[in-house]
């Protein structure tokens, strides 16, 4: 998710600095990372940040008509619904991944036993949420199938265009880039998730294009480490 914001702010041509903090979740007004800190204002979550930026005079979706705006919102919900939930499921409900990757990462800033307690608490919270929306009964294969369907829809919508709404990037492009890049670059137990995305060549080309265009300004090392660190941060959500 951090990447979504970075991409979005880069697309608006606003300079940003990425800072990693262990207590980021507590600093954020809504408990969600990432968030931006501008002057004496703190804003979190994509929706409010987009509106905040719009109020300051930068907007990416002014050129869209009403029907296109409706479509954009619908696709953003699709990404949130499917990709975000699938990422959470993979991190917290798939036992193998949880044991080997998530628990150590999430609890790493804290001493024992706090690290185990906090990560179990987070896991319990996420599993409760999955149960409420009906994902608890899904197997890993079903989740991967849902991701595949979502990627197929995104791929079909993108087609051969450079961005989702033709020439200009919008919030949707930033959001999709953030999620897909994270999936493609994060090491998990299996590569199945990233394989699903790689299956759609226009999506991988899309990610590469945005990375080069908006993150290629920094030298390769810093962008790679920033991307890797932000990938790590987004997993610690």
């Amino acid at each position: 998710a951090t990447l979504c914001f970075q991409a979005f702010l880069q697309m608006c041509n606003l300079p940003i600095q990425v800072v990693c903090r262990a207590n980021a979740e507590y600093m954020s007004p809504s408990g969600k990372v990432p968030f931006i800190h501008v002057g004496n204002q703190v804003v979190s979550e994509l929706g409010p940040i987009v509106q905040f930026v719009k109020a300051k005079g930068h907007s990416l979706s002014d050129g869209l008509d009403e029907v296109q705006k409706a479509e954009m919102k619908a696709y953003m919900e699709l990404v949130n619904n499917m990709l975000l939930t699938a990422e959470l499921y993979l991190q917290w409900c798939d036992d193998a991944t949880v044991e080997e990757i998530t628990h150590p990462r999430y609890g790493s800033p804290y001493p024992w036993p706090l690290n185990r307690i906090l990560s179990y608490q987070k896991q319990w919270e996420v599993r409760r949420k999955m149960k409420a929306i009906g994902w608890a009964g899904k197997t890993l294969d079903q989740v991967l199938e849902d991701v595949d369907q979502c990627c197929q829809a995104l791929s079909q919508r993108l087609g051969t265009q450079p961005y989702f709404f033709n020439k200009q990037p919008t919030e949707l492009d930033a959001l999709v880039f953030g999620h897909l890049f994270t999936i493609l670059t994060t090491q998990l137990i299996t590569d199945e998730l990233s394989e699903k995305v790689k299956h759609y060549s226009n999506l991988t080309a899309f990610c590469r294009r945005i990375e080069q265009q908006y993150f290629g300004g920094h030298d390769k090392d810093s962008s790679a480490t920033a991307a890797a660190r932000s990938a790590k941060r987004s997993l610690l959500r």
Binding site: S30, E66, A70, K73, A74, E77, Q149, Q156
Partner: protein, 312 residues
């Protein structure tokens, strides 16, 4: 062609075939794609509803969620989307996600959490369709599940209290309705002239809001300000659900329709004859109204008594 398929779901009221959005979606899709589905309405029987409804049973296969049921129907060659392009198919998925994220919480709230609505309408209605003693427990459980779902998905900080969450979800729902209305515009269905999966889902979610008479009706009032969405619901109800709306079984309604047609024809014939008789009476006063009597006996329906009273 395929094995017989039976759908178990909650019943309907206020002109709807079912009160539950998921059941309505599946029923609408079945009508659009021509799937022969036997609908089994859960009523006050000892066969307690297990877990999630609607449930599709075909031979030995039991499928429970709307998306999975629709997938199964498509595999059985009942496809309402074959005319859609790939992009339109992608749009369908996106809009369904929008409905589930933005509209469903408010719908659940209106039915199950809003105190006045729940106590005066939802709970008695569902309790009357579940056998005792489950009727004491199940509506409460459904209400708690709805609350759980809303609070877990939308109730994160900074929205801690239910009232703040309520305000947010109704705002989102109204925005969602506006977006749907803009997308529909002036066309008859979302993708042209034939209804598709998206129309089924939209109908499933909107029809309960539109038709059910609740005491607190914030969403309904907002929906009524969007005439194209109301028209979509009405069109689908009149074109595809006419037989189930009146509550008769389809076979019974067919005979009733046939009878009504016969009566209408007879009434027309009689009115023609009366005109002719008027002319004849003016010309020759002793002409007996024999034909009228014969037809009255043949009619045998309600129409005969008014004519009885009118005849000289």
């Amino acid at each position: 062609m395929a094995a017989p398929m039976e759908l178990s779901c909650w019943g309907g009221d206020w002109g709807l075939p079912s009160l539950q959005p998921e059941s309505l979606t599946v029923m609408a899709y079945a009508k659009f794609s021509g799937a022969p589905l036997t609908v089994n309405i859960i009523n006050n029987s000892w066969r307690a509803p297990k877990g999630d409804l609607p449930v599709l049973i075909s031979e030995d296969i039991v499928i429970s969620q709307p998306a999975k049921i629709l997938n199964f129907l498509r595999k059985q060659k009942y496809n309402a989307d074959y005319q859609l392009s790939a992009k339109q198919g992608a749009d369908t998925l996106a809009y369904i996600a929008l409905l589930e994220e933005k509209l469903l919480p408010a719908l659940l709230h209106t039915f199950w959490i809003e105190a006045e609505n729940y106590c005066s309408v939802t709970k008695p209605w569902f309790a009357s369709r579940i056998s005792f003693p489950l009727s004491l427990y199940l509506p409460g459980k459904m209400s708690r599940e709805a609350l759980n779902r809303i609070m877990l998905t939308r109730g994160g900080p900074p929205l801690y209290s239910l009232t703040e969450v309520e305000a947010q979800i109704y705002r989102d729902a109204k925005e969602c309705l506006n977006l749907l209305s803009k997308r529909l515009g002036t066309s008859q269905f979302f993708f042209g002239d034939a209804p598709t999966t998206l129309d089924a889902f939209v109908f499933g979610f909107l029809a309960p809001i539109y038709k059910v008479c609740f005491p607190r009706v914030i969403l309904q009032e907002h929906l009524k300000q969007l005439p194209n969405l109301c028209r979509l619901c009405d069109d689908i109800l009149t074109c595809y659900f006419r037989s189930t709306v009146s509550g008769h079984s389809p076979a019974g309604q067919d005979t009733a329709d046939a009878n009504l047609q016969k009566l209408t024809q007879l009434v027309n014939k009689e009115s023609n004859l009366i005109e002719k008789m008027d002319d004849n009476l003016r010309k020759s006063p002793q002409h007996p109204p024999r034909k009228l009597t014969t037809l009255k006996l043949a009619a045998g329906g309600e129409e005969s008594s008014p004519w009885n009273r009118l005849s000289p």
